[in-house]
């Protein structure tokens, strides 16, 4: 199956940012002339793709939706740790966008956004610009390589992967583990919270340990965590490490990596220099570049403050920010991005019809961590809007598994299949 050509306007991706050359914005043509109410969405991850689908579904296809994404396929971060562990393949976590076009009439553009003019309400791509009534920016995260001396995008792509965006670095990390000799050391460095997927690093440690236990049992997993403690599902992870991988995982809190050396394969913290055979350094992160282009990054120069009834930016009118880029007391998870996308879709439809959004949004989040090839555990919460705090807060209930189990391993699989389908099909 291929993309419907009329629905999928392939625009040459451009890696260069053209913000320094605003003249291009004037000479470039308007792409897809705007005829009726239109929402442009930048970024087709969990948040952006879901928002596109639900805007079309809930507006009875009356709102035109253009979804701009640089990648040709959707590669899921959830479950990507099991690719590193070896129980899933890259293909298993790679999905197609075509149903969004065929089934829902979302207009997909593969390309890179190079500028956003929130006054004129336009989004610039390399070959031209798009007009919008409302813009949804679902930019995901960018890694702050400059926070770690010796690290760069190039070094991460080739030698010291973070693999915190599922894709080529996921495959690279897996390859490095396969090439490592038995008795080697795998080092995982975790940045200070907030970062994407709070339990993700600890799940990754489990997955790497799973692979090593069965293939290179003399090897070691060393975790250098910039945080003072395990930030999510602590008891459950400790129990999994001690029971499934006894003696294999060493955890050091308050250990922030500030420097790496790709040549000597070493990492430096305030207290020590550590050598390892495989370095998996996850740098601190921030809202993705598109949020900067929209002028919506206004919290710690990293995140975006929003109105939780509509996810409209606190500083840019008619610009909505969803997903990991949002500054909130909400987990930066795929499920949460889809939940925010739905609140946003519903709100945009109301606002475009001259009505007010739902004043009391309630969403939920379930997050599974795979501790082996078959066993998992979860954290589940409902979050509701609190008027006084003007924030989303955890509702009653909520909690984690009693223990990891194979039953929950199956649930995790059902979760993945259902959420992938909800986002893309």
């Amino acid at each position: 199956m291929t993309f419907d050509r009329r629905e999928f306007l392939k625009i040459a991706a451009s890696g260069t940012l053209l913000t320094a050359f605003p003249s291009i914005a004037f000479s470039a043509p308007e792409l897809m002339k705007k005829k009726g109410p239109r929402v442009v969405i930048v970024g087709a991850g969990f948040g952006g793709a879901t928002c596109a689908k639900y805007l079309r579904m809930w507006s009875d296809k009356k709102i035109e939706v253009i979804l701009v994404e640089r990648s040709p396929t959707f590669i899921s971060c959830p479950m990507s740790n099991t690719v590193i562990g070896g129980s899933r393949s890259m293909q298993d976590i790679t999905h197609q966008y075509k149903a969004l076009g065929k089934k829902y009439g979302v207009k997909l553009i593969q390309g890179e956004v190079v500028a956003i003019d929130t006054a004129k309400q336009t989004v610039n791509l390399a070959k031209g610009y798009l007009k919008y009534d409302r813009l949804v920016v679902a930019p995901g995260i960018d890694l702050m390589y400059d926070q770690i001396e010796g690290l760069s995008q190039k070094i991460a792509d080739e030698q010291i992967p973070h693999a915190w965006k599922a894709g080529p670095q996921t495959a690279l990390l897996r390859k490095q583990l396969e090439a490592m000799a038995d008795g080697g050391v795998y080092l995982l460095s975790i940045p200070k919270a907030p970062y994407r997927c709070p339990p993700g690093p600890y799940e990754r440690a489990c997955q790497v340990a799973f692979y090593l236990k069965h293939n290179k049992p003399k090897s070691k997993v060393l975790i250098l965590d910039a945080n003072p403690d395990i930030t999510s599902k602590k008891g459950l992870f400790l129990s999994a490490w001690n029971t499934l991988y006894p003696g294999m995982i060493e955890y050091r809190p308050n250990a922030m990596v500030t420097k790496v050396d790709a040549a000597t394969r070493s990492a430096k913290t305030e207290f020590e220099d550590v050598k390892a055979d495989v370095l998996n350094v996850v740098p601190p992160m921030r809202a993705g570049k598109a949020a900067d282009l929209a002028g919506a990054v206004n919290v710690d120069k990293r995140w975006c403050a929003v109105d939780f009834l509509s996810y409209e930016s606190k500083v840019q009118k008619n610009v909505h920010i969803i997903g990991d880029a949002v500054a909130a007391g909400l987990p930066k998870s795929g499920h949460m991005a889809t939940a925010q996308a739905k609140v946003t879709a519903a709100a945009i439809i109301e606002l475009m019809n001259g009505r007010q959004p739902d004043p009391d949004p309630v969403v939920n989040n379930t997050c599974y961590s795979m501790v082996s090839d078959k066993e998992a555990m979860h954290v589940a919460n409902v979050f509701r809007f609190n008027v006084e705090k003007q924030a989303m807060v955890s509702a009653e209930g909520g909690g984690v598994s009693e223990k990891y189990s194979e039953e929950e391993g199956s649930f995790a699989k059902y979760w993945a299949n259902n959420i992938w389908s909800d986002v893309l099909r």
Binding site: A339, V382, A395, G397, N417, N418, I419
Partner: protein, 100 residues
Amino acid sequence: MKACTGIMLALLFALPASAEVDKRARSLASTCAACHGTDGKSVGGTAVLAGMDKAEFIKQMTSFKSGQRKVTVMHQHARGYTDEEIEKMATYFSTQSRGE
């Protein structure tokens, strides 16, 4: 008579599409989709909520909420919702068709 029934049926089926949907119920129900599929149409493993009897949905959620029924995940979600919200979700899911 037969023709008459045909028209009646056609009208009945046309109703859900044109009737004003309870948007709050729809939004509340929408984030269940991560595990239970879009509009409760699970693609596998989890309960299909689409087309579920309203009273049955309420009964299940209430027993999760009270702890009467021991489960792995749903008691933690059920406690986060008010009875009124559960009733709204029950209505929404009960009016969804089970398949496509």
